[in-house]
Symmetry: C2
Subunit: 226 residues, 2 copies
Amino acid sequence: MKLYSNHPKHFVAVDCAIFGYRNEELCLLLYPRGFEPSQGKWSLMGGFIQKNESSEEAAKRVLNETTGLKNIYLEQIETFTQPNRDPEARVISIGYYALSRMDEYDEKTVREHGAHWWPITELPQMIFDHANMVEKALIKLQQKSGYSIVGKELLPEKFTLMQLRKLYEAIFQREFDPGNFRKKILSLDTLQRLNTKNYSESKKGAFYYKCQNSKSEKILDRIVKI
Amino acid sequence: MKLYSNHPKHFVAVDCAIFGYRNEELCLLLYPRGFEPSQGKWSLMGGFIQKNESSEEAAKRVLNETTGLKNIYLEQIETFTQPNRDPEARVISIGYYALSRMDEYDEKTVREHGAHWWPITELPQMIFDHANMVEKALIKLQQKSGYSIVGKELLPEKFTLMQLRKLYEAIFQREFDPGNFRKKILSLDTLQRLNTKNYSESKKGAFYYKCQNSKSEKILDRIVKI
DNA sequence: ACAAAAGTGTTGCGGCTACACCCATGA
DNA sequence: TCATGGGTGTAGCCGCAACACTTTTGT
């Protein structure tokens, strides 16, 4: 029964890069570290994996505790194992990224933790190897966005094609031709046009669309050349 | 100093899906499990992460011990954390896949461990969640192959374009048009034609090519539509 | 009238596919 | 001479990028 007992055990944590979209910018939710070492630096939200808990369950627990979010979209980035990555003790960390719709997370819970949304174009210094995690997370998010309509996870339920395009411009940090983007997205046949219009961003008014759940799940044709 | 001490520690292992190419087939190196439970099933090569050792170092150590290979190409798949995935004890496993050139591994070392190369089209039953790991590993390998010439890691130093095409057909489990494949690969401008020819597979003789190390490293244009 | 977003149409280029077609040579 | 792989060329299709153009309406 003790086949493995001559091997060492390790602390195993999860760290979550939480992406959100506000003010036409892709943002990351970070928490300030209040004690030395690395006081004043910022940190991804993390926590230790408990007994009888998978890493995904741990990530969901951490996300719920800090943002109030449930049923959030979650994807594993990779696992970071440098023995000295945490100066306090050896901790193996499984990285996740999460996508948070701005209309669903709990502002109060977030504030209580002193968290702050940072635009990904101007991130502060982060502890340990968290900057590396964020870089890998962003690449993964771009890959996902290149093959599926990510509006469902980051925009409100109803959104205009311009809002979706601005989101993609924030994710890929480049501009897309409005006409071509519209045609490409609609050709995928996964959005459903609603009968209501948004007049807040143009005089003419733009139709709202929403994702058809059944179709938007699957992997689509390539949307963006990576 | 004991900030983390109220959290549990876990066994952490690495498991390696070792791919090789022989007889025009993509193969996987598996080891028979000689004891209950799961006797008679086959297993990926694995081992536990030691103190002061990163997961990549652990994977390299395991590969060297079982195949004699050094400087092998290695990539992380993902981390498997279901609490009950190993019935013996809770073990968190970081999956890797490795690419082994058939002319470089040590046949004797492999035989000593009772290992066997299985074509990926007819894999045996495997222990735990190893079949799942292999599935994910193959997808990752296809993604890599779609954007870089993977011949460098799986073929001998010198190879013909037909050999490279057969390798791609084995990886993607579909056929490629010989003329188009040749033109696509050569257009990437990362292979160097040698002055020698291979006469063993055709009467006319086909030029050998080799990878130009400097160029084949970077990510190329898409080779195969995934 | 003008600006700004919504939405549609058009054109040209480049890449991919599906072939046809030569060459060389061993059986 | 025939089959087989080596190697080149080409015509058609499709997707994408660039950009023109029309519509709508608030200022």
